[in-house]
Symmetry: D2
Amino acid sequence: MAVEIRVIYGDTDQMGVVYYGNYLRYFEAARAEFFRARGGSYLEFEKAGYKLPVVEALARYRKSALYDDLLLVKTSVDYIKGASLKFVYEVFRDGELLADGHTVHACINAEGKPVRFPDDARRLLSAGSGP
Amino acid sequence: MAVEIRVIYGDTDQMGVVYYGNYLRYFEAARAEFFRARGGSYLEFEKAGYKLPVVEALARYRKSALYDDLLLVKTSVDYIKGASLKFVYEVFRDGELLADGHTVHACINAEGKPVRFPDDARRLLSAGSGP
Amino acid sequence: MAVEIRVIYGDTDQMGVVYYGNYLRYFEAARAEFFRARGGSYLEFEKAGYKLPVVEALARYRKSALYDDLLLVKTSVDYIKGASLKFVYEVFRDGELLADGHTVHACINAEGKPVRFPDDARRLLSAGSGP
Amino acid sequence: MAVEIRVIYGDTDQMGVVYYGNYLRYFEAARAEFFRARGGSYLEFEKAGYKLPVVEALARYRKSALYDDLLLVKTSVDYIKGASLKFVYEVFRDGELLADGHTVHACINAEGKPVRFPDDARRLLSAGSGP
């Protein structure tokens, strides 16, 4: 799954490149589209009483993304284990890898307790290689 | 009331100055300190069942704020009328005015209905010229 | 001209709605697409030695934008006069107006001096109703 | 070295907690104060012709930071090796660890080439346990 993101001025910093913290926004946009591309949405997941707070995030910056770049952010599920889920990400510009990283999420219920992923979500997230 | 804000890289854009949208963050920091300086807090206000959504925001940019600048953001209440509240702001660096602006807020209750400001809040917000 | 924006978690705040400062990001995305829709780009404008710093920004918030909303942000040029340019904006969700506003920009040259808009830019920005 | 940060609405998301990407802003604020606490500044470092782009960032989220929290962000240098520098961070609220992480930076010169840290910077960054 991939999402296109156009870099705006508000994403850059005075080094003339995308601010390092903003890649975590791009990662988030990509995983939201991941849900949608498989016919679900993170919103539905929340409405069913679950949340996926981030417990770890890593980004590696290889080349700088610049103002007005059209980025392609790819994501896939690395694993689902019990109450834990890992997404991996790659950020490209014109086929060149600019950055990669991952996020690890806990599945928690409405009371904030970690719970095994509901079967629906598990099927949604682990289905084949996705659209 | 005034709050000091140190400009970070993440606040700037590739023009080498603070991104225009980030002044609204500075305004927010200033009005939170306004509540606190008068012995209250916006958090308490919310816990009492009220919210102050912004219905209008204006900023005028006169000189650029730069990375690592130590800004002084001053705010005061322009008026409280019925369910409406207006804050005005000025952003200074070393005594020089860089930007000013205002926000207008509605007072809404837990059901999202506009309501007259509770007397406690009215007293808190309108008391003298403040600390 | 209009641009679609999908609201991410990072755009929202704990009131469960888009943070008021982030509309200025949406406005910026819209005006960048405005240049592009007319066959130019703000980047080219900069490469020609000009910049368009914002001197005033206004936003009026009518209804809240929510997580995962697909927003349509429309913009057009209100006027170009001498070294001054005004964009107006409207933010819609499913045809409903959520917010509107404007930005006023100065045209400055590489030395930071206000200058009359170059003819190319003037033609680009004022051409008909645009694509 | 430690810096205090007051959480604003603009830092939170609709889960009612600080958005995960914003911790990288807090990390940046802490390392800027690290330079300053030792009598230098990142700005001077840049003016001397060097930059410290981030090549890797990691954050681990243990407990949520909330609106209006007064956070203490501690940082120290883990190592300086050749053209590489690693900062580690811990985010506390009332003595409780909420998050930790690190950033790895390259030292590059005005031409963007990785270079061994200048001796001044090396001394500044590695001096004792710091103020």
